[in-house]
């Protein structure tokens, strides 16, 4: 077990730059998730850490020492691939045992036929079998030891892949979208199992996903990536409550955040669609702003912070509903609102209200600007949250 450090990682494929100057410190035993849209460089970063791809610049350290010159297996990390990459011609047992036979037997003892000449091999294989069995018991896969991967379900294959990773007691686990090939229900189940596994093993895990729910539910910290940059690094709560850019705000949270065009008034107050909101910003570089409000922070009603919308349709999620609206002022802007199912469904034009402290304000480049609320009540809340 060990922490990881990435310094100035840069990678380009031909002319396209895929990773720009990535710096990342991952603590020992931490569960860090890399999230971001497709093609943002998550897998590439993971593969550089694993040693499957070499970086153009920068260095990777594991447990305080640089591993740039080491081959993948010498880095003593384990990787779980998206499609598991189990050896299809080997039994489950052989799949899990392979990392151990590779390191504990010499080349001669691994050769077909010739290996039977070695007496040491028998003893070593006995030890290996014991360790494989111990891992398999943890994952509840010992009942199908002699099956081939092709004869297993997706979730079982997933467990075998985990077993193959665990059996070596690696310094860190790297996982590249390990749950994306599973159906929705199994995914939720495996999410829980992985979290428990992490708690039990206490080993560093780096987990790539583009599913923000996985990122939110499993991680100690999330690194949100886009176009080869880390946009924000923080705890799930941090990233959700204080997104650093509009891209992060849009990516984290489901359904996605509502974004409205706004601008700064003469004395620093935020003006949204002709209404002056009780929020002030001081360090906006230009008057253009974007105001973001999460669908779950909106409700039908009136107040100082409202937008006027026209009802479109309702999405019933069972316990709650997503209401879809268009902005009356500019109908191309969709507005989403998350409500309880017992709410009456509105008709025609309504006003959607939100609290000033639920507003996220971004400058013309999409970067977050801290707001000052003039309302006494919300100031109290803000102070309370600062104390926390």
């Amino acid at each position: 077990m060990a922490g990881l450090t990435l310094r100035g990682i840069h990678k380009a494929f031909g002319d396209t730059s895929v990773l720009n100057n990535i710096d990342l410190d991952i603590a020992d035993g931490e569960f860090l998730t890399l999230v971001g849209p497709s093609g943002c460089g998550k897998s590439t970063l993971l593969r550089i850490i694993a040693g499957l791809e070499s970086q153009d610049r920068g260095s990777v350290s594991i447990g305080g020492s640089s591993v740039d010159h080491l081959r993948p297996h010498e880095r003593r990390i384990a990787m779980v691939f998206q499609n598991y990459a189990l050896y299809p011609h080997m039994s489950v047992f052989d799949n899990i045992a392979l990392p151990l036979t590779m390191t504990r037997l010499n080349l001669f003892e691994r050769l077909p036929l010739l290996r039977h000449l070695s007496s040491r091999r028998r003893r070593v294989m006995g030890e290996i079998a014991r360790e494989v069995r111990a891992v398999a018991e943890q994952l509840r896969i010992e009942t199908f030891f002699h099956r081939r991967p092709g004869q297993l379900s997706g979730g079982q294959r997933q467990r075998v892949a985990l077993g193959r990773a665990m059996v070596r007691h690696p310094q860190a686990f790297l996982m590249d979208e390990p749950l994306s090939n599973l159906d929705a229900k199994l995914r939720v189940h495996m999410r829980g199992e992985l979290t428990e596994l992490h708690a039990r093993l206490g080993v560093t895990m780096i987990y790539v996903t583009h599913d923000q729910i996985e990122a939110m539910t499993m991680s100690d910290r999330i690194a949100v990536m886009d176009h080869g940059d880390i946009l924000q690094l923080g705890t799930p709560a941090d990233v959700y409550e204080r997104p650093a850019t509009t891209a992060v705000a849009q990516f984290i949270g489901s359904p996605a955040i509502n974004l409205f065009p706004a601008h700064v008034g003469p004395s620093g107050q935020v003006e949204l669609l002709g209404r002056t909101l009780p929020i002030h910003v001081h360090n906006a570089p230009t008057p253009e702003l974007t105001v973001g409000v999460r669908p779950e922070a909106m409700r039908i009603g009136g107040g100082p912070c409202v937008v006027t919308c026209r009802f479109r349709r309702r999405e019933n999620l069972g316990s709650e509903s997503i209401l879809h609206f268009d902005l009356v002022a500019s109908p191309e802007v969709a507005v989403l609102c998350r409500v309880d199912n017992n709410m009456p469904i509105p008709d025609g034009e309504v006003t959607l209200a939100f609290k000033p402290r639920d507003c996220h304000v971004f400058d013309h480049n999409g970067r977050r600007i801290e707001i000052e609320s003039r309302m006494a009540a919300s100031r109290g809340v803000r102070r309370a949250s600062e104390v926390r």
């Binding site: 499957l52 297996h73 499609n83 050896y87 299809p88 990392p99 590779m102 080349l107």
Partner: protein, 309 residues
């Protein structure tokens, strides 16, 4: 889903069930008929004619023939030419099958790792496949010429004695086998290349992380098992091609020197089309077919159990 089908079927299936079954049966036979008729005309009927002939004493152009039972088979068993032909053919096969499979596998693996020069090498190795063997045999004859041939010039330059590859009884089959391998490698290589491209890259990466970074380990743990179906196919086709050796013998050695390169198919050709012993040639052809059949079945069953699909 089942409920929907149950509702729809009574409406859609207007004809009663038994008529429906008849229609289906005839439609099935109709679709299978063209292939079946072709198979009968081109394969099964000639085979039956062959079997029929082998029990007669028919000679090409003869007006009459009579049944002689198993006499032809008895003659074949005693015939020293046939015995020699079978041994020579088996020796040829024993060299060409492992050589043709392993060399093409090696070439395919080496070429597969090339990036820019890959297609160049593919063309170079595939060229022998596209050329006619008769023309190539003439070229080989020239290359192997004891005094003028390039190969002997090179050997002499290296200080070896002049070797008459095609007129030395002990060397003639290995030499023909080498030419046979040369002809086969390109085709087999293409099959192996296709097999190699189908191996997921993930597996090599997994094996890299698991510690098998030695090329031998990578080969044994991933490449070889994943190529199993390709290897089986290549082995069987190579075997059949090798067993059918004919053109190089016919053009370059005519079975010589002193019968040292007589092979089964060449013997059949001589009996049938030079000596006009049609019934005897038919008998030999059946023997030939029996050999290929037995070997193919054996290979398929032995290899099939070890191959992972």
């Amino acid at each position: 889903m089942n409920a929907i089908i149950a509702e729809i079927t009574p409406l859609a299936a207007a004809p009663p069930a038994s008529r429906q079954r008849w229609i289906e049966r005839f439609a099935g036979l109709g679709f299978a008929a063209p292939a079946f008729i072709l198979l009968v005309l081109t394969n099964l009927a000639p085979l039956a004619a062959l079997a029929f002939l082998s029990f007669t004493n028919y000679e090409l152009g003869a007006l009459d023939f009579s049944f002689v039972g198993l006499k032809n088979f008895g003659t074949a068993l005693q015939d020293p030419v046939i015995r020699r032909s079978i041994t020579n053919t088996l020796l040829y096969v024993a060299i060409v099958v492992p050589g043709g499979v392993l060399i093409s596998l090696l070439v395919a693996i080496l070429i597969h790792q090339r990036k820019r020069t890959r297609s160049l090498y593919e063309v170079i190795y595939f060229l022998p496949v596209t050329s006619t063997l008769i023309a190539m045999a003439t070229m080989w004859q020239f290359l192997l010429h004891p005094t003028l041939g390039l190969i002997n010039q090179v050997l002499k330059g290296l200080g070896f004695a002049e070797t008459a590859f095609l007129s030395e009884p002990r060397l003639v089959i290995p030499t023909l086998a080498a030419i046979g391998i040369w002809q086969l490698v390109g085709f087999n290589m293409v099959l192996f290349l296709a097999g190699l491209s189908a191996i997921p890259r993930d597996l090599y990466e997994a094996v890299d992380i698991d510690g098998a970074s030695h090329p031998i380990d990578r080969f044994l743990k991933v490449t070889w098992p994943m190529l199993g179906p390709t290897t089986m196919f290549v082995t069987v086709t190579t075997f059949i091609t090798a067993f059918k050796i004919f053109d190089t013998v016919a053009v370059m050695t005519r079975g010589g020197p002193g019968g040292a390169s007589e092979v089964l198919l060449y013997a059949i050709y001589l009996e049938g089309f030079q000596y006009f012993h049609m019934s005897y040639a038919a008998t030999l052809t059946l023997v030939f077919l029996a050999f290929t059949l037995v070997f193919s079945v054996l290979q398929t069953f032995v290899l099939d159990r070890r191959v992972h699909y």
